[in-house]
């Protein structure tokens, strides 16, 4: 065993000195290889953690949301609908929701305004003239509790609010752009008459019955669009699958370029390398030794690239909030949540990444060497 280890160490020593002879080329290869692993691992870790977080957080979103559609668009829903929904058996709680969007000219940002229901535990009642703001809004407008903020509503009237509180920074993923205000202020701001809501949130006594209740609702209210919680969760699942897919498609160009480069480097033997093999065979190296040496070359390069790329990706995603992806994800939004994802690492995904990055390169290094190594040393040296 000890002899075997010494033999491998000698082979690795030789491989390293051989790699060092073409230092620049090999370092370049290692760098590109590491960057590719880093990008793939970053996308993988980021989408997996975000998908997990979305599923975890949104499992508490309303069980059923009923919107009223007019000419294919979401419209205000009258109080009468709330009463009709209350008569459907199995509906436990029903609540008209008031929420909307507001474009703030000052910072060119879109806000989501919401009037939480007075029963919302933890918020108490937001007094008229007061406003609770999301952390990204506070950051963008430089606000702290006690400050005044004014908005010109869509009707042209100026509204002044006092910042009562700022929502916690940790909750930015769900609340970065939120402005919470009282129902009276909300109705006055958007000029929504009493007795109208934006949509209705329902909870159902028996979760198994959600679909039955949804079909009863669509029978009772034919102009209603019903959004179930499971649909919301599915929407997010598909968004992250899509996003991961899109980024991978964008990356595929560079991955293919790398694959060609690596294949060319690994499989197309240079005249110098052929001569080296010829000399090794001529001085008594066995074919197996040459193969082992080249195996070590492929394994060391790809393993180093994998470890460096993966560790860098982990720190990028979970310690630096995936800063490199921010410009892509941000788009034209002015408000962008600053959040730190809770690391969720899927062992199977890492194993897949390992297999698809380390294995092909190692194989691509060995095969052409094997072809060169089984031929006559004299023929190999003569080229």
């Amino acid at each position: 065993m000890k002899i075997w280890i010494e033999r491998q160490k000698a082979l690795i020593d030789f491989t390293l000195s051989s790699l060092a002879r073409r230092k620049l080329k090999n370092l370049g290869l290692l760098l590109v290889y590491t960057v590719i692993v880093f990008l793939l691992a970053s996308v993988m870790l980021y989408t997996h953690a975000l998908r997990h977080e979305a599923a975890q957080v949104l499992k508490n979103s309303p069980e059923v949301i009923v919107q009223r559609m007019v000419a294919g668009r979401h419209d205000l829903i009258p109080l009468g609908y709330l009463e009709k929904l209350g008569r459907i058996r199995g509906v436990q709680n029903k609540e008209g929701r008031l929420w909307g969007y507001f474009y703030d000219n000052v910072v060119s940002a879109n806000y989501t305004l919401m009037a939480p229901s007075p029963e919302s535990h933890g918020f108490g009642r937001i007094a008229d003239g007061k406003i609770v703001i999301g952390a990204a809004v506070a950051r963008e407008r430089g606000l702290v509790p006690g400050n005044l903020i004014s908005f010109r509503s869509y009707t042209g009237k100026l509204f002044v609010f006092t910042v009562a509180a700022v929502l916690p920074h940790e909750a930015e993923l769900v609340s970065a752009d939120l402005l919470l205000l009282s129902e009276t202020d909300f109705r006055a701001f958007f000029d929504i008459p009493a007795g109208y809501y934006n949509d209705i949130a329902l909870s159902v006594a028996n979760p198994q019955e959600v679909r039955n209740i949804a079909s009863k609702i669509s029978e009772t209210l034919p102009d209603a669009r019903i959004i179930l919680r499971e649909e919301v969760l599915r929407t997010y699942e598909s968004i992250f699958n899509w996003r991961e897919g899109i980024v991978l498609v964008l990356l595929s160009g560079s991955i293919l370029a790398f694959a060609i480069f690596a294949w060319e480097k690994a499989s197309g033997l240079s005249a110098e390398e052929k001569r080296e093999i010829g000399i090794l065979k001529a001085i008594g190296w066995e074919t197996g030794d040459v193969l082992k040496m080249k195996f070590w070359e492929g394994a060391l390069v790809s393993l180093t690239a994998f470890l460096l790329g993966y560790v860098a990706a982990y720190f990028h995603v979970f310690h630096f909030s995936a800063a490199l992806f921010e410009p892509v994800l941000k788009g034209w939004s002015v408000l962008y949540p600053r959040f730190e994802l809770v690391p969720v690492v899927d062992g199977f995904q890492i194993a897949t990444l390992f297999f698809f990055t380390v294995f092909p390169y190692t194989v691509a290094t060995i095969v052409p060497i094997w072809r060169a190594a089984i031929t006559d040393p004299d023929a190999v040296m003569r080229g």
């Binding site: 160490k9 000698a10 979305a54 975890q56 957080v57 949104l58 499992k59 508490n60 979103s61 919107q67 559609m69 294919g72 668009r73 969007y101 879109n110 806000y111 989501t112 919401m114 919302s120 535990h121 918020f123 929502l167 916690p168 940790e170 909750a171 993923l173 769900v174 609340s175 970065a176 752009d177 939120l178 919470l180 949509d199 679909r211 949804a214 079909s215 669509s218 029978e219 034919p222 669009r225 179930l228 929407t235 997010y236 598909s238 968004i239 899509w242 996003r243 060391l300 393993l303 470890l307 460096l308 979970f318 788009g331 939004s333 002015v334 408000l335 730190e340 809770v342 690391p343 690492v345």
Partner: protein, 111 residues
């Protein structure tokens, strides 16, 4: 003993392997502290009845993809180009591949 390059490479790989394994330990540690934040977010979602993550605030159908009506991405005309960059990160409206929740077949009146 003379330092061999194989030893140096093994040491280098061992350090990075340790860092690789440390990422799992770090993930486990951060999951514990992150659980508290996640719980607070879950509560906020439950209290306010939130339906979406605040990832893209540039358009209403990217801010609340689960609430947007299916035509919203093509609001100007059916073949309109997508306005917003994050539209390319969101999937096409599901009505291109599937319909709303199939409740209409169970109703007596047309939707």
């Amino acid at each position: 003993m003379q330092s061999r390059s194989s030893h140096r490479v093994f040491a280098f790989l061992a350090i990075w392997l340790a860092l690789f394994l440390l990422t799992f330990a770090d993930a486990a540690l951060r999951r514990d502290t992150g659980a508290r934040v996640l719980e607070a977010n879950e509560q906020l979602v439950a209290q306010l009845g939130l339906t979406d993550l605040c990832l893209f605030t540039e358009a209403r159908y990217t801010r609340h993809p689960s609430q947007a009506d299916l035509q919203s991405a093509f609001q100007d005309h059916p073949l309109a180009f997508e306005h917003f960059p994050s539209g390319s990160l969101l999937p096409p409206p599901r009505n291109l591949s599937s319909s709303y929740e199939n409740l209409d077949r169970k109703t007596k009146s047309a939707d």
